[in-house]
Symmetry: C2
């Protein structure tokens, strides 16, 4: 599981900083999360293969999270894309993308599926055998969802030596992986725990941007492997955070602590600050470990 | 008069090349022409003062010429813009920008005027005491206009020594600048030609992108100081040029030659070509001087 930050700064694209976009690699998927202006150039810089992106998740319809989407959809066509593309985002996203294409008398030569979101409760938006993705309703100035990417429980791991020692037939292997007991050569049932071990721990990633301090999300993100939580401001600007429905680094850390997550990644920094060091220092008073996202930064977990 | 190229490559923004956008400085105006994705970052790189841009001209609604506009409009607001902003472009541009702002529950805190274009004939879109701007209808896959920026004829230049020698009263100076004769101290009328000289030559700039080879524009751009004409392809790909309604370098040069312009600037290159040298070589067989636009390049004339 790896997240690559394409952009993690608030408000406007600048010479050296980019608005929100990131790529999550999980179970052979490449999920694009948010798509601020310039995302397609950032994808090129990070050498992400465009053709591997089949699902795009948009948190909300502020420009710094989605103004790069129409251009990316158009570029996919120019690159000769064949695979269908799925776009998940707030209601209205379809009208916007379609209008911009129509005005240029442009269409896609691949299937474009919009999954428009309106629910204020968490909903599952994508699911296959190995991954489940659900929305995390957030508290921002407009309708906004974070996204929870969660691996599904894997099969139990066959203990090859134990299975051989008991002389168990191969036809029982799938049963054992599914958690069932199995008979040995003499017909005696051997408990599953002696034949298999726990599957690899489930990993999960929660993307929460943009949002005010919103403890309601805690039950949903409890214990996630990595939490990306916005920290537009420092506590010294907490009045601004309240007014604009953003969070401070301290608030992000409190959420991480109260949800017992394994690691916290901060991002969506206001460009008013000179460096990022203060964000880490402020957050670490309340939670550890804290990582600072930055454009081009990769995080494996 | 100075043009600064922010981007001059066709199709998609890439790591080192940008889609169409340029800034024209003329008579204390800063006119932005086209606004592909990433234009606001290019403006920052070229250190153009955002607050000096009050007029934006959009040739057509293909993404590589206008997908940077909604973001720029939003950024103007974040920068605390006060002055009204005028946007000139094909019908539909207003709906697109307004929809994208509305979806983000965003508005401008400055006046935003749209001047939507539908005419297939040239129309004057802006005029003040010193400059007139008119559309140049082009031939592309969608409704497209180039733009002709033309200084107005200035006042005649007062010949200070001649005026003094004839003892002409200061109250006649404006008349002389307007081309009228004036009486000397003895009441004798002195011909204007003895009291003034011709105004500075009129400069003009024609922006023609995107377009197929379209000789109909020649009467309108006759003798312009600088012609920016797209050359997406070389002659070796003239079939592609015809099919996509773009021009080759040779065709651009033929237009320049037949219109007797003073200089030709090529741009809107397809990214299929390794370098730009061949564009210049091909065009120079038919017209000189030829200049190659490139991102960040400035041209004073």
């Amino acid at each position: 599981m790896k997240v690559t930050i394409l952009g993690c700064y608030a408000a406007t694209p600048r010479t050296l900083t980019n608005p929100t976009s990131q790529v999550l690699e999980i179970k052979n998927h490449l999920f694009l999360i948010d798509c601020g202006e310039g995302t397609q150039v950032q994808l090129r810089k990070q050498k992400v293969r465009f053709s591997k992106i089949n699902h795009i998740f948009i948190s909300h319809l502020h420009g710094d999270h989605f103004f790069g989407l129409p251009g990316l959809v158009a570029t996919f066509r120019l690159l000769g894309r064949v695979n269908p593309l799925h776009i998940y985002g707030p209601k209205g996203i379809k009208e916007a993308v379609i209008l911009l294409l129509k005005l240029g008398d442009s269409w896609t030569n691949y299937l474009l599926h919009f999954h428009e979101l309106t629910s204020k409760d968490s909903v599952v938006v994508f699911e296959d055998k190995k991954v489940r993705i659900s929305t995390i309703p957030l508290d921002h100035r407009v309708y906004t969802n974070g996204f929870l990417f969660k691996e599904k429980e894997g099969q139990r791991k066959l203990e090859v030596q134990a299975v051989a020692a008991h002389g168990i037939d191969t036809c029982y292997f799938q049963n054992i992986k599914d958690g069932k007991d199995a008979p040995n050569a003499g017909g005696e049932m051997i408990p599953n725990a002696q034949l298999s071990s726990d599957p690899k721990p489930i990993k999960s990633y929660a993307f929460c941007s943009d949002t005010a301090y919103f403890p309601e999300i805690i039950p949903q993100i409890k214990g996630v492997t990595a939490l990306y939580h916005e920290s537009t401001f420092l506590e010294s600007e907490s009045d601004l955070a309240t007014k604009t429905k953003h969070s401070t680094a301290k608030q992000a850390a409190k959420i991480a602590n109260d949800a017992g997550v394994k690691s916290l990644i901060l991002g969506h920094y206001s460009t008013r600050y000179e460096g990022l060091k203060s964000f880490k220092e402020e957050a670490e008073l309340h939670f550890k470990p804290v990582f600072l996202a930055d454009d081009g930064w990769e995080f494996e977990f």
